[in-house]
Amino acid sequence: MTQAEIKLCSLLLQEHFGEIVEKIGVHLIRTGSQPLRVIAHDTGTSLDQVKKALCVLIQHNLVIYQVHKRGVVEYEAQCSRVLRMLRYPRYIYTTKTLYSDTGELIVEELLLNGKMTMSAVVKKVADRLTETMEDGKTMDYAEVSNTFVRLADTHFVQRCPLVPATENSDPGPPPPAPTLVINEKDMYLVPKLNLIGKGKRRRSSDEDAAGEPKAKRPKHTTDNKEPIPDDGIYWQVNLDRFHQHFRDQAIVSAVANRMDQTSSEIVRTMLRMSEITTPSSAPFTQPLSSNEIFRSLPVGYNISKQVLDQYLTLLADDPLEFVGKSGDSGGGMYVINLHKALTSLATATLESVVQERFGSRCARIFRLVLQKKHLEQKQEIPKTPDHAPSRTFYLYTVNVLSAARMLLHRCYKSIANLIERRQFETKENKRLLEKSQRVEAIIASMQATGAEEAQLQEIEEMITAPERQQLETLKRNVNKLDASEIQVDETIFLLESYIESTMKKQ
């Protein structure tokens, strides 16, 4: 793991889980796999806190454990999974576009909690949706369940590995740690639950922005005592499936930009047909016949078979080679060259970076070198065959893989810088932010108890005009920094996909 990645992981862990978890997490990322006591000793943290931190990290799929010989359990951090936390907004937004608000909340809850049982998710989401509905309306559990099932069917959520059922005849002490197993075919199997109910609206007295001490809040004793029907069956978000979706999106929009809408729809159809049949890391999809594609086109699309064939031929002949022809049966067998597509996208990213950073002339040189593979500056053909430096050619070339790696490394650094700057800005204005929060809370409570306009005006004036200006500037800056983080992550995704695809190919 490079320093840049470790630094970024540290910032992400700290923002999402606090300093203690950050300390333990970063330590594990740096040192690799370690047992509990060594972690506590090396980080100088109490055993208790290490345990809590590890529980949180394991719950969120950031750390895994393994039993080694002599019963020692070792914990290992997954650095790349930590970096995925940057992409959470994108996962949630994508689900919203596919499965609307219900799906969005399901994925959000799963991401925030790491793993959950289906019944817990359904209940939580139903409650949240009920909050946003008009008075008197509630969200039915059945509707949420249906969306959950659809998410499982399309593999966007998957089951976590299970604790194996222990037999009672097992002699000797129980193992120091359970070995979790999951069957391929069970991964998307939704348990038969009979979830009946509706979302509950929280009482307005409970919703308190300031968060009064709730230690004396009466507990909901009614819900606890019911046995949980799917106890032990936890679900998590399947990040790989989302990545596959993002990749498909990128390819389709690239085709749309380069050619036209119809071609991109054809490519989208082909990708959709290959979703389940082709593993996401394959260099190209399974061959699809032109007839099959014709039958699978979306219902609204009224192009004739000949037109489809023409489009396919055009796509296959295009120098970008996104689509390839692999045979002639069935009206022509076509594949999508996933690896080539990813390479093109990564290369386009590199070109764009060169252009924006160094200018158009540099970009032109860069593109030329890429195209011709090896170029020389300006030389005549040598007359002598020896390797004397004055007569040797030095050719320029672009090593796309290592350029992509370098750019990726820079992206990690950029995001780390963005986060640090955002935290700095927030800290600088901490006093002002707190003051404005307090004023808002006061205004809110006064409005609730029915105050006059004049009084509200007076309270609002507690924040002076220059302070308001300062807050505006702060908000604008923080928004910019946040938006930058999200957009750099899009570049990271393309580069990482390309690098991964290339490594798998070799």
């Binding site: 606090g18 969120h60 937004y93 300031a210 200018g359 946040d482």
Partner: protein
């Protein structure tokens, strides 16, 4: 190659005039300090995308950040005693849902163990408490409350935690804090320091008080 390296004469493989230095001119000095912190860039960066998609994700991101701070997975660092204890701090404390992990999925060493720190009085309380059946909880509550009041608040909180951790298996294997209302299981060290919470837990905790597990006998030596 190796032959020519030792000859000493600098020979460029390309025409040096093309990059702007005329022949024989002194080349610029070697740079001895790090590059400036904020170098001047020739080209300004492209503006950010501001379509609906990006705006929505931005709002989501900021919301998520706030929500994460309120989740039980966010473990607060116990702050040192501040010089001035602000009155408003008491009312700005965010209420956190409790969260208990599913112990079945974790290595056994993850379960917090009670450590007797202080006096044997509490040890006695624990002993008496352990043998109690669920039915006698009411009396036990009062008795142990007295004893525990003098003992370490944190310890008794942890004891509770331990018992509930093992008792948990039959009831709630869930991580969902909402279901664990009956247990005052604070997975939050800070709260256990306060005696108040300890007393609360004894009052509200009804059924999970007996039948403790036996692996809590890690008695610390004094």
């Amino acid at each position: 190659m190796a032959r020519n390296n030792g000859r000493g004469r600098a020979a460029y493989t390309f025409n040096i005039e093309t990059i702007g230095f005329s022949r024989g001119e002194k080349l610029p000095d070697v740079v001895l300090k790090p590059p400036p912190l904020f170098p001047v860039t020739d080209y300004k960066p492209v503006p950010l995308k501001t379509r609906e998609r990006e705006d929505y994700m931005l709002a989501l991101k900021q919301e998520l950040r706030e929500t994460m701070k309120r989740m039980p997975s966010f473990i607060e660092t116990p702050e040192g005693k501040l010089d001035i204890e602000r009155y408003s701090k008491r009312y700005m404390k965010v209420y956190k849902e409790e969260w208990i992990p599913d112990w079945r999925r974790l290595p056994r060493e993850m379960k917090p163990r009670k450590k007797c720190k202080k006096d044997p009085k509490s040890k006695k309380a624990k002993d008496t408490v352990k043998g109690t059946s669920l039915a006698n909880t009411a009396d036990m509550l009062k008795k142990t409350e007295e004893l525990e009041k003098r003992g370490d608040g944190e310890k008794s909180g942890e004891e509770n935690e331990e018992k509930e951790g093992s008792k948990e298996k039959s009831e709630e294997g869930d991580d969902d804090g909402d279901d664990d209302a009956a247990e005052q299981e604070e997975y939050d060290d800070g709260k256990q320091e306060e005696e108040n919470d300890c007393i609360n837990s004894y009052f509200e905790d009804g059924d999970d008080f007996g039948a403790g597990s036996d692996d809590n006998m890690d008695k610390a030596t004094y």
